[in-house]
């Protein structure tokens, strides 16, 4: 009996060691293309960069530092403030030595989840599948002098020693140009445009109050980041306010609220939006694509793109936004993509793109 027990324990020990060996190594050679991609991102999520890099095919011609920067971001971009959250993979094509894996990567960021879809090429290398990582070309702006005439507005407010007749400088004149309330996906969405008609910069907030058929206020919300809060003179911004779970039929009226404030501001940087066009992305969704060009001399760390879509009557039918997870280096184009609802694409007659900028080392 004692010998039998000893034999059972010996077999159990060997089996557990075997199981531990199989599942314990995070850098075990991948036996499938999908496994290689999953393992690479699993190691990256755990910040095991050596482990993650071991799944990168040598033919990728990317060093480990560049690979890490591709995943963690550079130049103070939004990616540097994000965390890899989850990865979904699907094999699009597979042969004996090569495969294509569609990878949907989800990052958790301070401004919400951001998604990236990549079709990764996976190759067999020495019997193991490895990811051919498409190295991101690191842009180095050549040393140069970019002359910028900085323009900013400073404000002298009334002071404690002023008499009661001394007026403060007045708040700017802004105007809500349009408002359109629609119901989409079970939410009431109020959108439109607002303009600063004054000659001084304005900090604006736009909100909406919904009133039901009994005349009672049922919801109040403001546009959070789907608006340019700082408007320079004559600048127009879209706004969008979402009321999830509210049906249009339950609402009798929408009362717009706003607040315009005079603030010190800078007129820089100037960001050009180049080559805008509506097309399908690799997943077949309709997107507005283009390139952002920072025409100033300082890096814009987090660009925020706002797109306004109009029908053929000039009515705002959709407002969409997207944060770019790449910083805008001076004079260097950076692609962007903003989603457009597929059901609205056919109705879009024209569109307008504006860019909010957030910079780490700039005083506004």
């Amino acid at each position: 009996m004692g010998r039998t027990l000893a034999l059972i324990f010996a077999i159990l020990t060997v089996a557990l060691i075997a199981v531990g060996t199989v599942h314990g190594s995070k850098t075990a050679p991948a036996s499938t293309p999908e496994g290689a991609v999953q393992s690479m991102f699993a190691n990256a999520k755990g910040h095991d960069w050596n482990g993650a890099y071991s799944y990168v095919a040598p033919s990728s011609n990317v060093d480990q530092g560049g690979f890490i920067r591709d995943l963690t971001g550079r130049n103070g971009s939004l990616r540097t403030y994000s965390q890899l959250d989850s990865v979904n993979t699907r094999v699009l094509h597979e042969s004996e030595n090569e495969a294509t894996v569609r990878t949907e990567i989800k990052y958790a960021t301070a401004v919400g989840a951001t998604f990236e879809t990549r079709d990764l090429k996976v190759v067999k290398d020495d019997g193991a599948w490895k990811v051919q990582w498409p190295a991101e070309k690191e842009v180095n702006v050549p040393p140069q002098v970019i002359p910028v005439n900085y323009l900013r507005w400073d404000i002298v407010w009334r002071g404690p020693g002023d008499d009661w007749g001394a007026q403060n400088v007045e708040n700017p004149n802004c105007r809500i140009l349009s408002m359109n309330a629609v119901e989409r996906d079970g939410a009431l969405i109020v959108m439109g445009e607002v303009v600063n008609e004054d000659t001084v910069p304005a900090f604006i907030t736009v909100g909406a109050v919904l009133t039901d058929n009994a005349g009672k206020d049922v919801a109040e919300e403001s546009s959070f980041d789907k608006i340019s809060h700082v408007l320079l003179p004559k600048e127009v911004s879209p706004y969008r306010i979402d009321f999830p779970g509210i049906k249009k039929s339950d609402v009798k009226s929408v009362r717009m609220t706003h607040n315009w404030m005079l603030v010190p501001a800078s007129a820089d940087p100037v960001i050009g939006v180049l080559h805008q066009r509506i097309e399908k992305d690799i997943t077949g969704r309709t997107v507005l694509k283009g390139e952002l060009l920072n025409e100033s001399g300082q890096t814009v760390n987090i660009p925020h793109v706002l797109a306004t879509f109009y029908d053929n009557a000039g009515k705002v039918i959709w407002v969409s936004d997207a944060y770019s997870d790449h910083a805008l280096l001076p004079q260097t184009p950076q692609p962007f993509s903003v989603a457009l609802r597929d059901d609205l694409a056919a109705n879009v007659h024209t569109y307008r793109v504006t860019v909010n900028d957030y910079s780490l080392h700039r005083e506004n």
Binding site: G165, E170, K234, L274, R277
Partner: protein, 286 residues
């Protein structure tokens, strides 16, 4: 008996007269002015209380001396009551007028206004003396509104302490100095007169470099010839086969400038607010 009654009555009358002679008396001047000394003639002895707008003054006096109130003590204009407590009890009301104008409160509206608009600027002046007493009597108040040395003046007589004017904005843009003055006392406000919408917006190709076309506007002015303020957004839109490119440029030093991608065949338009400019057709990459 009749003689005795006469003597007693004479004594009583003399006694009464002597008592009256000993009682304090008040004589208050009727032309008191805030900030100026006041002398109240009294007789006898006692204490004087002066009760005025937001202020009470107490003075003791003896044997017929005047009660002297210093100028800096008599601050409030309006109705005062002087009460005498002593050998007798008396009270008397008198009025204190405000002093000369030494302080102005000036409300100028608005702080920004487009040029060449009729009756858009208002100025209201409240005339006070040194101790914040509103001077209700008619006082000539001067208003002067000028931009760059050129401007207009007007004199208005205040009514119940207030004088006001309405003025048109000048055709010239700039920080207008809006000054109100009374007897050498003046208060200044700034009314920014700003250019109206751009007029005759035009652009040209300023150069080509690094596969980009640089477009620049001519100096942007309103229909009165004033430079549109720096910082105003000017939108350049280029349309070609690769799509639409836009740059929201800011006016700097009177012009706006943008870099757009070079194209074989592109149309560039420019707009500022609701004003459209000219259209350019450019072609041929450098």
């Amino acid at each position: 008996m009749r003689k005795l009654i006469f003597v007693v009555l004479a004594i009583a009358v003399c006694w009464f007269a002597a008592d009256c002679a000993r009682a304090a008396e008040l004589r208050v001047p009727q032309d008191a002015v805030a900030g100026q000394p006041l002398s109240i003639a009294t007789s006898g002895s006692g204490t004087v209380y002066l009760i005025g707008p937001g202020q009470v003054i107490k003075r003791s006096f003896k044997s017929g001396g005047n009660v002297e109130i210093k100028g800096e003590e008599l601050r409030g204009a309006g109705r005062w009551i002087v009460v005498l407590r002593g050998d007798g009890h008396q009270s008397q009301a008198f009025w204190v007028k405000p002093g000369k104008p030494e302080k102005l409160n000036f409300l100028a509206r608005p702080s920004r206004v487009p040029v060449a608009r009729p009756n858009v600027i208002s100025g209201v002046t409240f005339v006070f003396d040194r101790y914040q007493n509103l001077i209700l009597g008619p006082t000539p108040v001067n208003f002067n509104l000028s931009v760059g040395g050129a401007g207009s003046s007007k004199s208005v007589t205040s009514h119940d302490g207030v004088a006001w004017i309405n003025s048109s904005s000048a055709p010239k843009a700039g920080a207008a100095q809006f000054v109100t003055s009374v007897d050498g006392v003046e208060v200044r406000r700034v009314v920014q007169q700003v250019a109206a919408d751009p007029c005759n917006l035009r652009m040209h190709v300023a150069g080509r470099a690094n596969n980009m076309v640089v477009v620049e506007t001519d100096p942007i002015r309103d229909c009165s010839g004033n430079a549109v303020p720096d910082g105003t957004i000017v939108t350049f839109i280029q349309t070609d086969k690769s799509g639409k490119s836009t740059v929201d440029a800011r006016i700097k030093k009177g012009t706006a400038r943008a870099e757009l991608p070079a194209s074989d065949n592109a149309t560039i338009t420019v707009a500022a607010g609701v004003v459209l400019g000219n259209e350019l057709h450019v072609g041929g990459k450098p």
